[in-house]
Amino acid sequence: MKTISLYVDKGTMLNKIAPESKIWYVIAAITIPALMGTRWAGIVLIAVSAALLLYGKVLKRTLPLLAVSGFVLLTVLIIQGMFWWGNETPLFALGPAVFYREGVNYALGILINIINILMSFCVLILTTKPSDMMENFVRRGFSPRFGYVFISVFQIIPQMTETMSTITDAQRSRGMETEGSLAVRIKAFIPLIAPVIMSSLINTKERALALEVRGFNSRKKKTFLNDEVKTAGDRYIQIALPVLIIAAAVWRVTQWLA
């Protein structure tokens, strides 16, 4: 099964609860630390996300994603640690490079924020089937066309990658070099990209026709083969999370007033 979706069905409760609940979780995980303005809130939420991912049996799949962003995060730490405008107190030195307490501290704040956002999104993305999420949106009056575009991207991009490799083969077969210096690659650009565009235009037209004759533009009220993904607990989650967000805001206001 070739799809670029990261979702895997592990059969846990996280796969069964409504996608909306998980979207609320993402919103809460981002807004609560921002509203409260304290670092420990972010740390707590990272721990919560990690616990959820562990429970959902997808913590391992989170690691490669974190590793990719880890490189960027490391750069942030180095640059801020060395060059942040408020740097005063040296913390440690690696050869000629001096790291300052203020910069490192500032960078840590950014790190916590980014890791928190990444991990809460992982909770949503790794445990939710994209089509379930879209179907739920369409049920709530979202445009089915937009929903289709969103979902089909997951399946059609891998198919396009395949077309792309056939095109590369076809042009290489005619003696075209595709590897080597920049000049070679630039020269290969048009012969590779033009057929990709033409064949996707042709395929898109054919697919549009095929969708059309299956009533894609029908104005009738849609029905759904699959039942809506939700559990009894979803109602409470979708009340509790907004309440927590409001509570965080209230807490911040009282802090501010006091």
Partner: protein, 287 residues
């Protein structure tokens, strides 16, 4: 009673000055298996699209005449409603996969969901369609993982689940291997047996001869002839229209062997065998 009537149909694609369909009239009975033949660009696909209402409601252009299915004039019905009357299957199975569904079962449901069919009814129709096309065993497979023949049968299942009276298939097997092709033809014949009218474009004349009740021969947008495969393939001027008769007919022509009661040349393997055996075509003496 004729269920599909085409009256003086004319059509020109936008920006061209040649009639793609030039005054075509024909009537097709319910449950017939109609083959459409002719050289490339002769108007076969345009005729299909006109019956499915894609001409003039998807492809614009100059349009004249009428296509009637029972009392419905296809031009006047939006394509998304007409799909419960006429179903269309295209050449490339791959481009008919919606790309939005994770299993064959869900894929077949796509059209039914759009038409607002209630869930219980939907399940009943999908199960029946999968059974007719013999793809029940692939129910939970990922649509893009099927072979060409299986994928094409899934596309047909998606179309027949919408319960059309007429199904149009535009070269549905040209991209398939012999086994996949045979699977599709047998499935289509089974649908025809269920009373669904079949309209099929195909370059393989042996298959056309084997499965069609009647054949429409087109050239340059004009309907040259519409008759039984025997009559059509017995025409002496066939090659003039860029069509080669089935090999069995060619053998009949060369040996001047006709079927007694119709005076036509044989068109299928069975017919060729019959006339040859009558002539004493048993094992010829070899050297």
């Amino acid at each position: 009673m004729a269920s599909l009537n085409i009256e003086h149909l004319k059509y020109k694609y936008p920006g061209t000055d040649r009639l793609a369909l030039n005054d075509i009239s024909l009537s097709i009975e319910t449950g017939e298996f109609i083959g459409i033949i002719g050289r490339n660009e002769s108007g076969k696909s345009s005729l299909c699209q006109a019956i499915a209402g894609l001409i003039p409601n998807f492809y614009k252009g100059a349009y004249g005449g009428k296509v009637l299915i029972d009392d419905i004039e296809v031009k006047k019905v939006p394509v998304d409603e007409l799909c419960e009357t006429v179903g269309t299957v295209f050449q490339n199975p791959f481009n008919q996969v919606t790309g939005a569904k994770a299993t064959v079962y869900e894929e077949i449901a796509f059209g039914l969901e759009n038409m607002g069919v209630p869930k219980e009814e939907m399940i009943r129709r999908i199960d029946r369609a999968m059974e007719l096309l013999d793809i029940s065993k692939y129910r939970d497979r990922y649509p893009f993982d099927l072979s060409g023949g299986q994928m094409q049968r899934m596309a047909i299942a998606g179309v027949i689940a919408m319960h059309p009276q007429v199904i149009i298939l535009d070269e549905p097997t040209s991209q398939l291997d012999p086994q996949g092709r045979e699977e599709v033809f047998q499935a289509v014949q089974k649908l025809c047996g269920q009373g669904i009218t079949i309209i099929l474009v195909e370059h393989n004349m042996e298959k056309i001869a084997q499965y069609s009740n009647r054949v429409a021969l087109l050239d340059a947008g004009t309907l040259i002839d519409f008759d039984t495969p025997q009559k059509i393939f017995s025409r002496v001027d066939l090659e003039q229209y860029g069509v080669e008769a089935p090999v069995y007919t060619q053998i009949g022509k060369r040996l001047n062997l006709t079927i007694e009661d119709t005076g036509c040349y044989p068109v299928t393997l069975e017919e060729a065998k019959t006339v040859l055996l009558r002539k004493g075509g048993n094992d010829p003496v070899w050297l």
